[in-house]
């Protein structure tokens, strides 16, 4: 494995690698919950998304502590920490989106497209995990990066359609419109952050060469 070749004897590095994998897998689960909650209008399942964010926070703290406790050479630590922070910010954004959902009545004409975006968000997250695992194995992961960019572009296209459709939705007061707008904005910007994470993965890969 890629990291194992560089740090063959250290357990600390292996622990960090395992924890990062766990962190990303938890994110995939979180996206799954979010999508199902949105699709079935299950508000209690949506609250589960907030619980998962707290669990993710604790994993992030563990990883950062282990890294600064001596895992990996100092030059690579900031990049690894940055990657973990970006992944963690996706949990935060997903949690925010969940809160907005609980606050808003999602109009029927927008629901199908929102569920589709949630589905694509989950797919793009799974691709991030595949890319990370490919990097660990020392495989070429250019095609995985490209797949992430394709998903991101697709979500971007849907975003503009959603915004256009949202303009024709009648709202009864300012806050109803404002929160709906924030919900759509959060939902469609998650993929941008996942793309940032994948870009950072590439930076880590390059810096290890």
């Amino acid at each position: 494995m890629f990291f194992k070749k560089i740090f063959p004897k250290s357990n600390k590095e292996q622990e960090v690698i395992r924890d990062i994998t766990r962190h990303i897998k938890l994110l995939c689960t979180d996206f799954g919950f979010f999508k199902t909650a949105l699709e079935t209008s299950d508000r209690s399942l949506m609250r589960e998304v907030m619980h998962i964010e707290r669990e993710a926070d604790s994993i992030r703290r563990d990883i950062i502590s282990k890294i600064y406790d001596g895992a990996f050479l100092p030059y690579i630590r900031p990049d690894l920490c940055k990657f973990v922070e970006i992944v963690d910010s996706i949990f935060d954004l997903l949690e925010d989106t969940g809160y907005k959902y609980l606050d808003v009545k999602l109009p029927d004409p927008l629901k199908d497209e929102c569920v589709h975006v949630a589905f694509l968000n989950r797919r793009i997250c799974e691709m991030l995990l595949i890319a990370y695992e490919a990097m660990l194995k020392g495989e070429d992961f250019r095609e995985k990066m490209l797949a992430i960019r394709i998903y991101e572009k697709k979500i971007d296209d849907i975003k503009f359609d959603l915004i256009r459709d949202a303009r024709s939705i009648e709202v009864t007061n300012f806050w109803e419109g404002e929160i709906l707008s924030q919900f759509l904005s959060c939902l469609t910007s998650i993929s941008d952050v996942i793309e940032d994470a994948s870009d950072h993965l590439q930076i880590i890969h390059l810096s290890m060469k």
Partner: protein
Amino acid sequence: MKVTEFITRRIEAIEFDKTVFDAVERMVDRRIRSLLVRFPGNDRENGVITARDVVFKVLAKGLDSKKIKVSEIASRPIVCVDQDLEFGQVAKIMGESNIARAFVCDDDRIVGIVALMDVMAAALIAEARGEHVF
């Protein structure tokens, strides 16, 4: 990979009695290469007009796009593929029909459109996942 995973659900459409100029205006405005042409009847009765139709059937012949109705140059019937099909099966149908886009249908209702670019993207994503479209 199922075709519904990567389709475009929003379909730009134009009524059959509008002019080609109206269609061009819409395509340029939305930066798209085709429009669904709505004819009376169910969704399978509809047609499609592409930038290719506009250029070769109207503009290149020196015809006035404001005097020609989209119904005169639209291709009918549209090619519909079932929403449960896999991308590989859809690509085969597109190849056999020599078309760049197919409409994805749930019985007689159009639920989306899939273009060659979507097939290409789906093939790449499947490859990245360790699966195969073809």
